[in-house]
């Protein structure tokens, strides 16, 4: 029972909290630069706004460009499953699971970089 609760909390936190970290970073940087900075929840506002918008694709791009974000989302979601939360074990843990974690993030990076090259421009 305890593991189920723990895993649920883990997943809920893992999928909802990351944008907050962006806000914390932006706020901290602003604080040190003597600025006010964006609101703490700015990343959430951006996500909501972006989700309501349409899409624009470059004419040079292929399916690889569209695959970039998909692979990014899927690999990081899977990677979350092998990361332990505080004192509790990760939902999935086995010998050498951190190698899998690193290589999942590597797969993510492979497709993100390929998607960038697919635009056919150094910008």
């Amino acid at each position: 029972m305890e593991t189920i609760i723990c895993n649920t909390v883990h997943l809920v936190l893992a999928f909802t909290l990351p944008p907050l970290l962006l806000g914390v970073i932006a706020k901290t940087k602003a604080l040190f630069a003597g600025r006010v900075g964006p609101p703490l929840l700015q990343a959430y506002y951006d996500l909501i706004k972006l989700l309501r918008k349409g899409s624009v694709f470059g004419t040079t791009t292929t399916w690889v460009f569209r695959a970039g974000p998909v692979v990014g989302l899927v690999t990081t979601s899977l990677a979350v499953l092998v990361v332990p939360l505080a004192d509790y074990a990760a939902p999935i843990s086995f010998t050498g699971d951190f190698v899998l974690l690193a290589y999942l993030l590597g797969l993510c990076r492979f497709f993100t970089a390929s998607a960038a090259l697919d635009t056919g421009s150094a910008f």
Partner: protein, 684 residues
């Protein structure tokens, strides 16, 4: 029974090119006959291997052979079966691929010769893997080495092909020389030329070291371990692509097979052997991938990745040797199991990559990465196959490369020791090396895939590319399926690997495929399947969402510049510049760039020349106004250019004194014969 099937397969493979030799060089009948024979040979060979795996029985075949010390002695064991599988599989796929890639009607001059030696190469490799007698092994080895020479020099009307062929020939002969030395030493210890475990008392430590070093140099030359790799890049680059596929996928593994077989003869290897192999593997892996990053010839780049993967395999074997020295079965199972699985995996994904590269070359007639680009639109199937190969070779989940690297990682981490057991903490330094190799490989393959298949075409040829025929795509598709199968169903490979491990180290045979190996493999498979399913679902979700929303297309945003040109893309050199700069102490890149004298700061190019020698600058001074100028960079092979060739030149100068004896006049030569006879008469 399995031995008979395999021997029959070998005979048919060896003769598969013969009918083609007598048939017309302007018709495709010969190549069809050859392919049918190759299919029969592969079916026989593969059924022999399967039979061995399912029944597990092997009957040694021993026949008398009149060669001194020789004996026709073949037999199967777990190791032979593991190395035989890629021989028959890749050879079959290469043959089918060659039907349209090297069509007889388009290559009337050398098509028949190529198919003849392709069959011989297969037969030679299969024979040496099952040979249990040194002489028979050497016969298989030489058939393999020489047919590979004729395959490399298929297009011998070209200067660079002949040069690469010569380097290969010299390297392979040096390797054979060392093998003669090796088998001579083994004969001195064992008293026979049969490859059997050594008599422990008869081997002094010095003798054991001599055998190890000679074997390492001889087999290492063929495998392409880093300082001995000099022949590998050029010959892989200029050979026809299905030849490169079998050379890189299978032929260089014969060197690995030799190292594995010879080390299996020593029940108690010194700890330093494993350490040496671990260090050599790490060097080979890191430098192999570093050289690969600097290349902009598509096939030369893939060739350097072979050196990298050989490094990974050697690290696995090194770990197993360390385990055998200190008596830790887990390290043997994880190290050798991972290494042997990587032999398979590399054969599969490297063959896939070379065949995909061949498909590109067939369509655009250039190997220069910087002349390609945007091919994913014209050649979607080739692009997909190359992408799968690229992800697999980087060792990324859910494909096969990850599984074997994962096993080696587990073994390396295990050397840190559990309480009570011995620990060899030094071996754990292999793990960061493996991680570095993985990261650099990702950078390199993003570069290749991006520069060749993504973006827009950089040359006229690339614009008019076309997709290859089904007989070329088919073998590639089969390799893609193999890569996914091993990645997603690795636990099924464990028993077979266990057989290989137990025939390498019989004293640990009862351990079988250990739980240490099986337990995480199940998780890898489950998560791999989850990953694939999640990717499919997420793609479907994206597709549904894009269908329901506003989608626009337009030129890529370029800071307000609305007419992007292909020259605004990253090239393979510019993408790699940072990493090449990081390794310039060993890569010694050569660049030719305009030097802007009027400016104290040069924006690019010039700082790259620090590490290596510079080509003469293209224009001395650019003046006040920009003039036409050019930039080029290259990463030549440091070991070949700065160590081997100078040594050979010195040798040539020394030995040129002997030319005095060779004058070309018959009378002098008759005098030599007379003097030699006289000398012999006086001596006896």
């Amino acid at each position: 029974m399995s031995e008979q099937l395999i021997l029959l397969g070998i005979i048919i493979a060896a003769t598969s090119g013969v009918p083609g030799l007598v048939l017309s060089r302007y018709s495709t009948t010969g190549q069809c006959v050859t392919t049918v024979l190759a299919v029969i040979a592969a079916v026989l060979g593969l059924s022999g291997i399967t039979r061995f795996w399912t029944s597990g029985d092997s009957q040694e075949i021993v026949l008398a052979w009149s060669v001194p010390g020789g004996e026709f002695n073949v037999s199967m064991d777990g190791l032979s079966a593991l190395f035989l599988l890629p021989v028959f599989l890749v050879s079959l796929l290469g043959n089918i691929y060659g039907l349209s890639y090297w069509k007889q009607t388009e290559h009337a001059d050398n098509g028949r010769q190529l198919r003849f030696f392709y069959g011989l190469l297969t037969a030679g490799m299969a024979l040496l893997v099952i040979a249990r007698n040194s002489m028979l092994f050497l016969v298989g080895w030489e058939v393999m080495a020489l047919s590979a020479f004729f395959l490399v020099t298929t297009e011998d009307d070209q200067q660079d092909v002949r040069e690469a062929g010569w380097i290969y020939l010299v390297a392979t002969h040096v390797a054979t020389l060392f093998l003669f030395g090796l088998f001579g030493l083994l004969y001195a210890v064992n008293g026979s030329l049969t490859l059997a475990p050594l008599n422990e008392e008869a081997v002094t430590p010095g003798m054991a070291w001599a055998i190890f070093v000679v074997a390492l140099v001889g087999f290492g030359l063929k495998a392409g371990i880093m300082p001995l790799h000099i022949w590998l890049p050029s010959s892989h680059a200029i050979a026809p692509s299905h030849v490169s596929a079998i050379m890189s996928g299978v032929l260089i593994k014969m060197g690995i097979y030799g190292i594995v077989r010879i080390t299996s003869l020593f029940p108690h290897p010194p700890l330093e052997w494993g350490g040496t192999l671990l260090a050599l593997g790490a060097v080979s892996g890191v430098l192999g991938v570093a050289f690969a990053i600097g290349q902009h010839d598509l096939k030369r780049l893939l060739a350097y990745h072979s050196i990298e993967n050989i490094g990974i395999i050697i690290m696995g074997i090194g770990l197993a040797l360390v385990g055998r020295s200190v008596g830790r079965a887990e390290w043997i199972i994880l190290g050798l199991g991972g290494g042997l699985l990587h032999v398979w995996n590399h054969a599969l994904f490297k063959a896939l990559l070379f065949l995909s590269a061949g498909s590109v070359i067939h369509a655009v007639h250039t190997r220069e990465i910087d002349h390609l680009g945007g091919l994913a639109k014209a050649m979607p199937r080739t692009a997909l196959c190359f992408l799968v190969g690229a992800v697999a070779i980087c060792g990324l989940p859910p494909l096969n490369g990850f599984v074997s690297e994962f096993l080696i990682y587990l073994g390396l981490f295990d050397t840190l020791g559990i309480e009570g057991g011995p620990s060899c903490a030094g071996a754990a330094f292999g793990a960061p090396a493996l991680a570095l190799i993985g990261a650099l490989a990702v950078a390199c393959f993003v570069k290749v895939f991006g520069a060749v298949f993504l973006g827009t075409a950089r040359s006229e040829h690339a614009q008019h590319a076309h997709e290859s025929r089904a007989s070329m795509i088919g073998p590639m598709a089969l390799l893609v399926i193999c890569c996914f199968s091993i990645g997603l169903a690795s636990p099924f490979a464990a028993p077979v690997l266990g057989q290989g491990v137990s025939s390498w180290a019989p004293e640990f045979a009862d351990k079988g495929p250990d739980q240490a190996m099986l337990a995480p493999l199940e998780w890898i498979s489950i998560l791999g399947v989850v990953l694939v399913v999640a990717l499919v679902l997420a793609s479907a979700a994206l597709w549904l969402r894009l269908r329901g929303s506003v989608v626009q297309t337009g030129p890529t945003w370029g800071c307000g510049y609305l007419a992007p040109t292909p020259r605004m893309q990253y090239t393979s050199s510019s993408f790699a510049q940072l990493l090449v700069g990081l390794f310039d102490w060993v890569l010694r890149p050569r660049t030719r760039a305009p030097c802007l004298r009027s400016q104290a700061y040069s924006p690019f190019g010039c700082e790259l020349t620090d590490g290596g020698s510079t080509m003469p600058p293209s224009s001395k001074d650019l003046g006040l106004f920009p003039q036409k100028t050019d930039f080029c960079s290259a990463v030549p092979d440091t070991v070949l250019d700065e160590a081997v060739l100078p040594t050979f030149r010195i040798g040539a100068r020394l030995f040129s004194r002997l030319r005095m004896l060779q004058q070309g006049s018959i009378q002098t030569y008759v005098l030599y014969i007379f003097l030699a006879l006289l000398g012999l008469l006086l001596w006896r």
